[in-house]
Symmetry: C2
């Protein structure tokens, strides 16, 4: 069994690779909290196993599908946490567990979310399945290297309130950084159109940069990523180009799979916010367990840091729920990096001791309201907090550095100028005979990959093709489109049923699934530029 | 107040337009179910108004922000549905309600989802705000025109089970269509890599096509859209190119805003599946009301059809909850089309009468298991169901047609061949002096928009620019990149600090935010091709 995954090359380019997923005997385990007597729960678990895989009553499912696709009830046991409850574990063949995070969610809780009194408590994912997920790009170690801070928890705060001027927000950011804070993030209520966003984010980034220049440390600023779905990349590109190293994101609002996609494509720290998660976690009889959602699933989606309301604050989390999240974020999980728990809300210097005991050094303490007042107080408040942290943990500092490649640095290395040379060659680019057309026939074609295959940030590739006298390109069709420009000589462009003469500077657009071919019936070489989507489907026979 | 929205032109192209959003006096209303005495509920509502807008305690919020940004508690009243409950309505200035669906969700329920016993019951959106949303593209009338069926409910079924062969699924589709059914959709458990998806979807589409040729009607086939986040467009393109008219989608799994984005870009019917919604709807004390989530919010996200479990089936929905969804889908809501309620689950001919009374003619009845058996029985079962529907409703048929432009047809109209003409002109394309550089200085530049501005489906535009002797392009930088190809003459390419000679067939890649300019210091015209992302940011001064 194999499936196609999207491998990050640059944020705008996806390369589909077929990777092995799961051995035939590997199974995904899903554990629910159910209510009733042992045999009732067993019957309900069996019903769920059918519901979540084939959505048909048992008697309508053919034997081979029942054996291969339908879930198997593995165990029913008492639930020690909730009176009258039991836990049932169902397993599915890993190769039927879905080929991406959205479909995994569908399998583990899609329809049964609507059953009364079914709570999703745990999942177990086999190694082969986990290999399809990169998980957190930075995780605990990566963020330590990035910030240069070891040995103690990090201190974070939020820029707020919404409605404050850009200058006011930038001043908060600066003073928090000057006070020695580690991470300043946007409040999740901050949301702007792109032009306003650019102004605000640039001002805050500059304020933090200037403060960093003064302190010699690297306080990180994470703006909130929230935008219309199609605009994410624009916002992310801007953040990355500014040299910022992370963003705040709300996975349950933008979608877990969208979050994973961003984590896979951008070398940015993802700090996950729990907005909208309450509907899943609140009821002990329904929804998804705190640790599983804000720990395991957020980590699977690539969250480097997971914010949750600390117990004792204005939300109703218990200590057990907080420690479950914290534990899930850092427990062994395939080759995946552990992530940072970030308890927040109602935090004060007085409870630092207890928090240190509960969360240890690898935690991001998110402090809000108590630091806020006028600038001087904020800076001093931050300093006092930092001193208290250093009083309990032994801080070790290094020079901040970048464990994940920065895109800005990437771009600097890319060659950008390709002078034309005799015989339709380009300095800095190699020419090669074309031979990559599967079972499609062609003759006498050479190719020069000019732009797009070397990490450039464009959505299209530019290639030069040359067809010898008497040669032709393969007759093919595909979903992606072409733009072609004649460069030398003359050919016949077969476009659907038409035969067109194609010479230097002629232009053609080849629409989706249109059968096309270039045939050189002359005695001279024919050359053309071809512009094509970087991400594209494979050509098919007509 | 204005903000930038994304307007659909073609699925791959977004045009940002600044549209007026809300008058200053327009407010968004949000109603919650809360528990406690009147004054307790009032205080809690006030706390929520701060939590959801500025996330700060009252005393820390400056007066002007309190007046403009913080919500206002408008009303607290008894909740007749749940004993001991009250309803509190909070209003926010519409211009602070978020500029897109994700941020609206954040405002109405992000953080308070984590409060104990706060249920979101209703929202009211002013006209100006609603104008930013297209809503369902087809809605009730559009789908009737598309299918040519008037006067009666539509009958739908699901292709299942997962694990069945492509032939078996195609046979179900064919027999349902031959029996006279209206819509056949994939089961939401069907999820494949792209190549497998293509084979399955094509086989089922062909089976339905052939059945339609026999019946003379148009049964519609909606495959399930589920894919890694970055692959959606590939799947959607394929579905659209096959000539299919809709997809099944799970909005709470892929995200409401992602759903809206797809609805805005693709002329496809969206049939929404309720997977994962249970965590929101199940508890009367928590989450989001059934009608608001599966009705109003799904409709806002562009769902043409909203599936929900009918009461009396294997899920626990009540009649009141079903009718609330049904009502919300069809109630007046700005200029937005009404959508189809699609009750499903446990449906039989015997309860058609009651369903007809409850839902009326404008409903899609989703019938599953009861139609399934071997082919002949399925066809006959469908026919019996259709007869029963026609027995209760007066069917009127028209020739099926397409209320929303089909992309396939669009593409056919696009001109695709542009022969080169003397003086660097192209047949079919106009040349115009360049004048669109804002306050950036340039001299003697003309432009020909070759490909990309006329509805072509490519991610890049191709333009030709020509700079007169002594002329120059504007010195500028931007986030988007360029690829340029020399076409005639010679110029100086200023790239960052470098000055490069640029002649015919020379190639350059201009990286993000790199300052660049082309200067013609010769006595002849200089011309170049420029390849640029279709969606791009505005050039800035260096």
């Amino acid at each position: 069994m194999a499936y196609t995954v999207t491998m990050p090359v640059s944020p705008h380019h996806r390369v589909s690779a077929v990777v092995p997923v799961s051995r035939d005997d590997e199974r995904v385990g899903v554990t629910y909290r159910l209510f009733g007597k042992h045999n009732e729960v067993e019957a309900l678990a069996r019903k769920i196993a059918f519901e979540q895989s084939v959505e048909l009553p048992e008697e309508q499912v053919p034997d081979h599908i029942r054996a291969q696709v339908v879930g198997r009830v593995e165990e029913v046991s008492a639930d020690v946490e909730v009176e009258g409850a039991r836990r049932a574990t169902i397993s599915y063949a890993a190769r039927h567990a879905g080929t991406h995070l959205s479909q995994l969610l569908n399998l583990i809780y899609g329809n049964v979310s609507i059953y009364p009194r079914v709570r999703l408590i745990d999942i177990s994912l086999p190694q082969g399945f986990l290999q399809g997920f990169r998980g957190p790009r930075y995780g605990i170690q990566g963020l330590r290297v990035l910030s240069g801070v070891f040995g103690r928890p990090l201190l974070a705060t939020a820029l707020k309130p919404k409605g404050a001027s850009v200058e006011a927000l930038a001043s908060i950011a600066a003073n928090f950084a000057l006070g020695g804070g580690d991470i300043v993030k946007d409040d999740q209520n901050l949301a702007d159109d792109f032009e306003t966003y650019k102004r605000r984010v640039e001002a805050c980034a500059r304020a933090v940069d200037e403060a960093n220049a003064e302190t010699g440390r690297r306080c990180l600023y994470f703006p909130h990523l929230t935008a219309p779905a199609g605009d994410f990349d624009r916002y992310l590109d801007y953040v990355a180009e500014l040299g910022l190293r992370g963003v705040l994101i709300c996975p349950m609002i933008v979608g877990l799979e969208t979050t994973r996609d961003i984590a896979a494509r951008y070398p940015l720290v993802l700090m996950a916010h729990p907005a909208l998660t309450g509907s899943y976690t609140q009821s002990p009889e329904q929804g998804i367990d705190h640790g599983l959602l804000l720990g395991t699933l957020f980590r699977l989606a690539g969250a480097d840091i997971s914010i949750f309301p600390n117990f004792g604050g204005r939300f109703s989390y218990t200590r057990g729920q907080c420690l479950a999240i914290s534990g899930r974020l850092r427990e062994p999980m395939g080759a995946m990096s552990p992530s940072w728990p970030s308890p927040g809300g109602g935090m004060a210097i007085e409870n630092l001791k207890a928090m240190g005991v509960d969360y240890g050094a690898d935690a991001v303490f998110l402090v809000g309201g108590r630091l806020f007042a006028h600038d001087r107080v904020l800076r001093d408040g931050t300093r006092a907090f930092m001193d208290a942290i250093r009083g309990r943990f032994e801080e070790r500092l290094t020079a901040p550095s970048d464990p994940a490649a920065s895109r800005v640095e990437d771009a600097a290395e890319i060659q950008r100028y390709f002078p034309f040379e005799e015989g339709f060659q380009w300095k800095g680019r190699e020419s090669s005979p074309y031979k990559d057309a599967g079972d499609l026939a062609f003759r006498g074609v050479r190719r020069v990959e000019l732009v797009g295959k070397s990490g450039e940030r464009t959505h299209c590739d530019l290639r030069y093709f040359e067809v010898q006298a008497g040669g032709y390109t393969s007759r093919e069709k595909h979903l992606h489109t072409h733009i072609i420009i004649g460069a030398r000589g003359e050919a016949v462009l077969a476009l659907g049923n038409r035969r067109l003469t194609f010479r230097q500077h002629d232009i053609a657009y080849i629409k989706p699934l249109e059968v096309h071919q270039l045939i050189n019936e002359t005695d001279e070489p024919f050359g053309f530029y071809c512009i094509v989507d970087h991400d594209r489907d494979r050509p098919m026979k007509p």
